[in-house]
């Protein structure tokens, strides 16, 4: 049996007649002397916004660059103008070029010691060890799990970054997000994803309360806002109730929940001969499930939100109450101490 990973070996290379020159070519380095390399304009130092480096660094890097150019005695050309300043159409181009020249020539100084020190300090402030790919992963995981779920996000970035590294970066990221290129787009994306998680959580909660209201949900689960009546109804209400009960049983945050529901339908003797219900694929069940969950959500929308607010208020009231109690206790203790 040939395994699929088998790769044909390359053809055997036949021996040619020895060519002495060829044989010693590398060893003796005979041949023409190398032409002196053309001095080149050093590229601008890569400066990724997501690494959250202080902007002062940009200035230092630029200084450094000019100095290197001067060292090699490089004469800047039009191309460098393009790289540094982007496309310019009109006559100012020449002036730009001149300026560039001037700057690089005037930049007689390499960085001073202070500047060198500053450079190291500033670089330590940023996250120059965060590559583009790691940043992308960080953004997508922040959406997938919610921005504060550091354990989960760190798990996705696992071998490259420790939990602490991720935490530090995340804190910096959220306090300096405006400094990041395209940050509106990135933020929007994370917020949208978070909204999805919140929505599932809310549906889960709404479903829990709906079902806990019924003593026998298979019979008496009633939707206050049933699915729209202008769509063709193909599921019976009993089947709808069964889907909701099963969604509650397995929870909404599992990606295989509809496969499990399909299996439940097959195993349930109530639907033994119900070919419509039995014929629904997980994808079709998911569509129905989402429709039903939206109805459940509608029913509890006001309720759930109100609850969150009241919860907060109650917590605040609790803590102030506690504080007041503590104060009273302390006062009482002081009183008794005084009396003694």
């Amino acid at each position: 049996i040939i395994s699929t990973s088998w790769i044909n070996p390359s053809k055997r290379e036949r021996k040619e007649n020895y060519n002495i020159d060829g044989y010693y070519k590398d060893v003796l380095q005979t041949g023409r002397s190398t032409t002196p390399a053309q001095p080149r304009m050093p590229k601008p130092h890569a400066f990724h916004s997501h690494q959250l480096l202080p902007t002062q660094l940009k200035v230092i890097y630029e200084k450094e660059r000019m100095w290197t150019a001067k060292k090699t005695g490089y004469v800047p050309s039009m191309d460098d103008v393009k790289i540094t300043y982007g496309e310019i159409e009109d006559e100012t181009e020449k002036q730009q070029k001149l300026q560039l020249l001037k700057i690089s020539i005037e930049n007689a100084q390499p960085l001073t010691e202070e500047e060198e020190k500053l450079k190291v300090e500033l670089e330590a402030e940023g996250f120059s060890n965060w590559g583009k790919n790691e940043f992308r992963k960080f953004v997508s995981s922040s959406g997938k799990y919610g921005r504060n779920s550091i354990q989960a996000i760190a798990m996705d970035l696992a071998p490259g970054k420790t939990l602490e590294e991720v935490r530090k970066y995340a804190q910096a990221f959220w306090s300096n997000i405006e400094r990041i290129e395209d940050y509106e787009k990135i933020l929007k994306m994370i917020e949208n994803e978070e909204e999805k998680i919140r929505r599932v959580k809310m549906q889960q909660e709404a479903l829990r309360r709906l079902i806990s209201k019924c003593s026998n949900p298979l019979f008496d689960l009633v939707l206050k806002y049933p699915p729209s009546s202008n769509n063709k109804r193909t599921y019976s209400e009993e089947e709808d109730r069964f889907i909701l009960i099963m969604l509650f049983k397995y929870g909404l945050d599992r990606d295989d929940v509809y496969e499990l529901i399909r299996d439940e339908i097959r195993d349930c003797p109530l639907f033994e001969l119900d070919f419509y219900f039995q014929s629904r694929t997980p994808a079709e069940l998911a569509r129905r499930g989402n429709t039903l969950l939206q109805c459940v959500e509608k029913e509890f929308n006001s309720g759930v939100e109100l609850n969150d607010e009241t919860k907060k208020r109650m917590e605040e009231e609790d803590s102030t109450g506690k504080r007041i109690r503590e104060e009273i206790k302390n006062e009482a203790a002081e009183e008794s101490a005084k009396q003694e």
Binding site: N148, A152, F219, S236, R262, F275
Partner: protein, 628 residues
């Protein structure tokens, strides 16, 4: 002046079908032990065979004629399945006593086995077949002759099934994690020891959406060595390669997979579930013919009420000003024709008394239904199996629902067909009663069956009892139904049917009042149907005894429970429905008997024109005097 309103027809169900609701048994417990009789058998596999038959019945367009007249017992013989005599009956279980091949001609056993393989092959082909048929004609995907055509007939189809089965979902019996040991709704493990409770990296949004990540149990199939689907003998000899239980599981899974993933079947189901109209009673999980639920009398009464309402509607409408005007102008021809017809019908009724009137309305059914056109799609007397609107969710084998007891089924195929069967019992109430009367009066006989393509229908039958109340309670409570049996056989041929019909008398007669016994009766009624009873049922599964009965089992014959149903008022409905079912069954007996005889006498003889003539001329007499 207040104009008279037309009585509305929309708020009632006038269709020949009625939904069969689970909620009917919401507060009822079954009293299964009260049905004990010598012919009662437990059928652990009955639900599956019902499913096979139902599937072949509804989707007959994919199956060969050889499969369209299968009987319940053909599946038992073909797959080698045996009913179980319930233990509590007090007999030694002689289940493994005799095998089918001991008392059935080998030829017949093999023929049943071949049909099982034909079913197997058809289902396999349905799964592979990628083309969606445009026409909905009867086009079988496999025929019996093909079974001998090649050595590895099933191989290429099985290859496809084995590739996809995991994604399609394995049957619970063939999974590596047995359902009864593992709760799939509980996480297998969590990713982090502690839930994430750290400080918020973004204090503006103080919430941690994902505190932990869980891993769940996956439903994985058995290992290759022990997975019946990987059995290489399947390729060579088909479904018989597996153990009897596994044969049932595989066929059931194939039907499940077909209904979801066979393009042909899935499309057919889509077609049957997306009509422009809905039944008047909405979409219900299942429905059954009205005459089996309400009985013939109520069904006729409902029809007569409908006739009166439609009459009223037409008369009110004819008095409306604008209609009068249109009629005078000679427009609205159909309406004026209706009014003319109505006048004729009313003239006929004028001289009759109430009973005669009703009889006439039923006799003139065809005229009356002309008046219904445009008013409503069908009526209580139309054929419940005719309109495809009802096909998908119809329980064709249903014959009765008894409160506090459960449902009764008589699985026989060929409900829907494109063949010239004129003796089908799957028809409207009037035609059904007509056929039943023909047979009970002796006007029609076996030969009549033969001439009218009776062989296309299932020749033998079984009467099954389904313990619906227990099943519904288990489902509602979320109790795993695995290993529980809700299906029982009550009779398996015409002879045992007669016994069952007479046995029903014990249940239908109300209990006699006896001074000494009365106390006991009261004690009993207070217990049956209460929670204690329910608990007992749960603890001991379905084979538990009524607590009272265990104390006073008839010493004479432990296999039969002759006790009447409890005296309580709420069992009156049960007695009534049992009586109705008994009436139906006693009329059904004659035609079922003829079907059995047909199988014996004519076997698989194909009724051609010439043989037909000869058979008629031969005039077979089976009198004893002929036997010298």
């Amino acid at each position: 002046e207040q104009a008279e309103q037309e009585p509305p027809l929309t708020n009632d169900n006038w269709s020949p079908n009625m939904p069969l609701l689970s909620t009917a048994y919401k507060t009822q417990q079954s009293i299964i032990s009260r049905l004990k009789n010598p012919n009662m058998r437990t059928l652990p596999y009955a639900g599956d065979i019902m499913k096979f038959m139902s599937f072949i019945n509804k989707f007959y367009i994919f199956f060969d004629m050889d499969l369209l007249n299968l009987s319940f017992i053909d599946f038992e013989i073909g797959l080698d399945l045996y009913p179980v005599i319930p233990q509590e009956v007090g007999l030694d279980t002689m289940n493994k006593g005799s095998l089918y091949q001991d008392y059935i001609p080998v030829k017949e056993v093999i023929s049943c086995q071949d049909k099982m393989n034909l079913l197997f092959l058809t289902l396999l082909r349905l799964l592979v077949n990628k083309e969606s048929a445009k026409s909905r004609e009867h086009k079988p995907l496999a025929s019996i002759d093909e079974l001998t055509s090649s050595k590895k007939l099933y191989s290429k189809y099985l290859l496809n099934v084995r590739e996809n089965a995991k994604e399609w979902g394995y049957p619970s019996e063939w999974r590596s994690l047995p359902l009864d040991k593992i709760d799939l709704s509980k996480p297998k493990s969590q990713m982090f020891k502690e839930n994430d409770k750290s400080d918020y990296v973004d204090p503006k949004i103080p919430e941690i959406l994902t505190e932990n990540i869980f891993e769940w149990h996956k439903n994985l199939p058995l290992t290759n060595e022990s997975d019946p689907l990987q059995n290489s003998d399947l390729d060579k000899i088909g479904i018989l390669a597996l153990a009897p239980d596994d044969r049932v599981i595989l066929l059931r899974s194939l039907i499940n997979w077909c209904s979801s993933y066979s393009i042909k079947v899935h499309n057919e189901i889509h077609y049957l579930s997306h009509f422009k109209k809905d039944p008047t009673f909405g979409i219900q999980t299942q429905h059954v013919p009205r005459y089996f639920v309400e009985g013939p009398n109520v069904t006729y009464a409902k029809y007569i009420k409908l006739c009166e309402m439609v009459q009223k509607r037409l008369e009110v409408r004819s008095k409306k000003k604008y209609i009068k005007k249109l009629l005078a102008e000679g427009k609205k021809e159909d309406f004026s024709a209706k009014m003319k017809l109505l006048k004729e019908l009313k003239d006929q009724l004028n001289s009759l008394n109430k009973q005669e009137k009703e009889k006439s309305m039923i006799e003139n059914y065809n005229d009356w239904t002309k008046l219904f056109e445009g008013e409503l799609p069908d009526n209580p007397l139309s054929n419940p199996f005719e309109d495809e609107l009802y096909k998908l969710r119809s329980h064709e084998f249903f014959i009765g629902r008894i409160p506090h007891i459960g449902d009764f089924y008589m699985p026989r195929l060929h409900t829907y067909s494109d063949s010239p069967v004129t003796v089908s019992t799957y028809t409207d109430l009037r035609a059904l009663e007509d056929i039943l009367n023909k047979y009970s009066s002796g006007e029609a006989d076996v030969q009549y069956l033969f001439e009218n393509y009776g062989q296309l229908m299932s020749p033998s039958f079984k009467l099954l009892y389904h313990d619906t109340p227990s099943m519904i309670h288990d489902v509602a409570k979320g109790i795993k139904s695995k290993g529980k049996v809700y299906w029982y056989e009550m009779c398996s041929d015409a002879e045992s049917l007669l016994y069952f019909i007479s046995y029903l008398d014990y249940k239908i007669t109300p209990p006699k009042e006896k001074g000494s016994k009365k106390k006991k009766e009261e004690g009993e009624t207070s217990i049956s149907g209460t929670h204690d009873d329910a608990k007992l049922l749960e603890e001991e599964g379905n084979d538990s005894l009524d607590p009272n009965e265990s104390m006073e089992i008839e010493v004479t014959d432990p296999t039969i429970n002759k006790k009447p149903l409890p005296k309580e008022y709420r069992f009156n409905a049960s007695r009534l429905k049992l009586k109705m079912m008994q009436d139906f069954l006693s009329r059904f007996y004659y035609i079922l008997k003829s079907f059995e005889t047909l199988r014996v006498q004519y076997a698989d003889m194909k009724p051609g024109k010439r043989t037909l003539r000869r058979v008629q001329r031969r005039n077979i007499t089976y009198n004893d005097s002929d036997l010298d």
